[in-house]
Amino acid sequence: MTTETPPRPRKRTQPDPSLPKLSAMGWVRWAWRQLTSMRTALFLLLLLSVAAVPGSIFPQRNIDAGRVADYIAQNPTTSPWLDRLGFFAVYSSPWFSAIYLLLFVSLVGCIVPRTKVHVAALRATPPRAPARLSRLDEHAEVVTDLSQDEALAVAREVLRGKRFRLHSHDSTSLSGESGYLRETGNLVFHLALTGIIVGMAVGHVFGWRGDIILAEGDKFASSAGTYNTISPGPWVDTETLPPFVLGLDRLDVQFNEAPGRGFGMPKEFTAYTTLQREPGAPATKESVSVNHPITVDGADIFLLGNGYTPVITVRDAKGEILYREATPFLPQDGNYRSVGVIKVPSASPKQLGLTGFFLPTAEPTFIHGPASLFPDAKNPEVALSIWEGNLFPGDAPQSVYTLNTDEMKQVTKADGSPALIRLKPGQTYEIPGGRGTVTFDSVKRFAGLSVRTDPGAPISLVSAILATAGLILGLTIKRRRVFVRVRPAGPGAAGVDSPSGDDGRPATVVSIGGLSKDSDAGLAAIVAAVHDRLAERNDRS
């Protein structure tokens, strides 16, 4: 990527001119120089953008583990390789991490020396004016009847008004420099980029997130054990989570009922809750909706999902209640066709498991299988199949949303066909073979709440704002140098710009030159301003 060659070591141990040898230190220094060169930074930036793309094409575990599993099942030949190479977790893969870590090592290696140079530049005086200002990017000349000192004073005044730092190295010249803030802004920008990364790292290490599904009327006390899932950062002490108690009084959900493209689209989700900062503390009413989290002890509580919890009762043949719970069924599509599982370990002689669907607005015929026509609970129905046997084979831990049927058999009717439960609220189904009954009592909504803390976020936010400010300074301010030289008007100097000096008064030729590092449409205006002010003074005299 770069044309630089390794440096030759200062002292050569072998007098072989064709094979310069590098000491270990020399190689390290060479590698460091490569890594911190602008070209490497450029290359790494491009590489980073390319490397980020696969994560938007392949499903990612951190977003939707279910889709990753589907993808792997559908592409059995390629996906093991993709998986091994990290394509389903691009942003935590070694290659992606390597690129951004190298970029940031390069960044730091770049900022430090540039800061030193810049601090020195801030203290330095503007350089001596070159001999021939007409060679500079912008140039103007004017003859005036001011004295040399007066002319320089006028130029000084104009340039000071334009915030130039000025210095006269001798009595016939003036040097001015401006735009130091450009490099300052640029350094702030690059430094703030590292700040963003530091903030992300802090969030990763000290942040945590817990998810909970809470049915209407239910309450939960925050602690490491009460969340459905909790993912703490490596340095989080899960004993010190904020001990708040949150009750879900009501979940208000509205869907678009007007026919057309937007039919069934969500319009409104609001959870009305009762919050206590700690057990026994006074309760306050708080509402959480999308875009409006509530904050407790540095933790934000977000409403991220919702669905239905049918209340289902399972009784044995004698009418004893074996199971009665509001069981969350997880929505699978926009019309909230939801899947769920009911596990009844206390059933005898064999454990019972029910698995199937909840349909908020059931399509009555089931022609294409169980389907829901609308996300609101207009015509709720559950459709479940029944299994019996061992619910927990091998006592392996399992999800509450899946039924492991390895050691179970589907319950059938007398004619041998599988028994299928279809119930509307209030209805009861008798399981064949005198195994008891299943009742669909009612349906409640649940809220999917996520509690998160990210102590690094403020660091990243402040850094991001600084980065933007630095960027604006670094890009819009121009580094400019303007020089002015004066000399007495000699023969032939007349007619350069203004034909004065004829009346016998001493005339001065003022030469103005401007220099800019980059494309700079404003430089000409500054040179012109000095020129015009001098010309103007001339007219008045």
Binding site: T3, M38, R39, A41, L42, L45, L46, L48, S49, A52, V53, G55, S56, I57, F58, Q60, N62, I63, V90, Y91, R135, D137, M200, R209, N256, A258, G260, R261, G262, M265, P266, K267, E268, F269, S289, V290, N291, H292, P293, D300, F302, L304, S450, R452, D454, A457, S460, L461, A464, I465, A467, T468, L471, I472, L475, T476, D518, S519, A521, A524
Partner: protein, 329 residues
């Protein structure tokens, strides 16, 4: 009064006016071409020399401003008049388009960018406004074809492929961050688009400067490649700053709506990719020894990413993450 249907009527009207503007811009370019041919014959040698010496070489006796048109080209009155007619039509077309977007916004009582159709029309309006504001003072009549053409294309696609009835927003979009984040993104895209158009013209112009064609045409009447390059850089720079802001505002909004400011959802990924590609462009332009043509190619790739971000990422299901608002399908 039905605002939504008036909005559509204004959209159709703006397409008609833009089509006329497009024709007028072509007519304007046609007026520039023969003139170049005339002036070129006499000035060929001088032009060649100017190119060989290069804009920045020291010691050039008389440096011409890089912002002037090509040497030896003095725009004729006819060409200027045609250019101005085209500009007037563009202003009218833009006004109609903006009116359409505003009426749509009033019809739905929210910022009018909640689905792909609205993205496309509001994006086209942003490009139209940016061009209309900048064209006159920069003498960008020659650029009109390359800006109004894409606007028309986007409007056509919006009405045929992406059309969505005026409707309400999904809850995740109900936030004032929608107004901030998305509107800044639109302005950024408007600048990226114009910079892209100039970037393409720059590459062609540069090629023709290096290998002067036998028959000069309107291209030779445009500002020098160096000037075009600088203009594109300035526009890209403004757009990059706005895009940086878009990225940050998006992260703040994501934090509110989804609980985490950055989750690498496909839309976030592409916003980031665009940002890094343009950052690479800014970098390469500042790196000694990388020529401006190569830098410009990076910027063009960046614009392709902008297009992908607004099309494929919204529409193709492999990309669909949490930003699933297209309203299409």
């Amino acid at each position: 009064m039905n605002l939504a249907s008036n909005a559509n009527a204004a959209l159709y009207a703006s397409m008609i006016v833009y089509t006329l503007a497009m024709l007028a811009f072509t007519w304007h370019l046609a007026a520039r071409a023969p003139q170049v041919a005339d002036s070129k014959v006499a000035e060929r040698a001088e032009v060649r020399e100017d190119v060989l010496v290069g804009a920045g070489a020291p010691g050039t006796p008389e440096r011409r401003s890089p912002y002037a048109a090509a040497p030896g080209f003095e725009e004729s009155r006819e060409s200027r008049q045609r250019g101005n007619i085209a500009l007037m039509l563009t202003y009218l077309g833009t006004a109609l388009l903006v009116a359409s977007v505003l009426m749509r916004g009033l019809a739905v009582s929210r910022p009018p960018w909640g689905n792909m159709f609205e993205f496309a029309t509001a994006g086209a309006a942003a490009v139209g406004v940016a061009y209309s504001v900048l064209a006159k003072r920069n003498n960008w009549q020659w650029l009109g074809v390359f800006v109004v053409g894409p606007i028309l294309l986007v409007q056509g696609l919006a009405l045929t492929v992406l059309y969505t009835e005026a409707g309400e927003l999904m809850p995740a979009l109900k936030s004032y961050w929608l107004a901030i984040h998305v509107s800044v993104a639109f302005i950024a895209v408007a600048f990226f688009t114009i910079a892209f158009a100039i970037g393409i013209v720059y590459l062609v112009r540069l090629h023709r400067e290096e290998k002067p064609p036998a028959k000069p045409n309107f291209m030779e009447s445009l500002p020098s490649s160096a000037a075009l390059e600088r203009t594109a850089y300035t526009l890209n720079m403004v757009a990059f700053i706005l895009w940086t802001f878009t990225l940050i505002a998006g992260a703040i909004w994501a934090k509110q709506a989804w609980g985490a400011y950055w989750q690498w959802d496909p839309k976030e990924v592409w916003t980031f990719v665009i940002w890094t590609v343009y950052a690479a462009y800014m970098h390469s332009r500042a790196t000694a020894g990388v020529d401006h043509r190569k830098s410009m190619l990076i910027a063009l790739v960046g614009f392709v990413c902008v297009i992908i971000n607004f099309t494929l990422v919204n529409l193709v299901s492999t990309f669909v993450g949490m930003h699933n608002y297209s309203g299409v399908g």
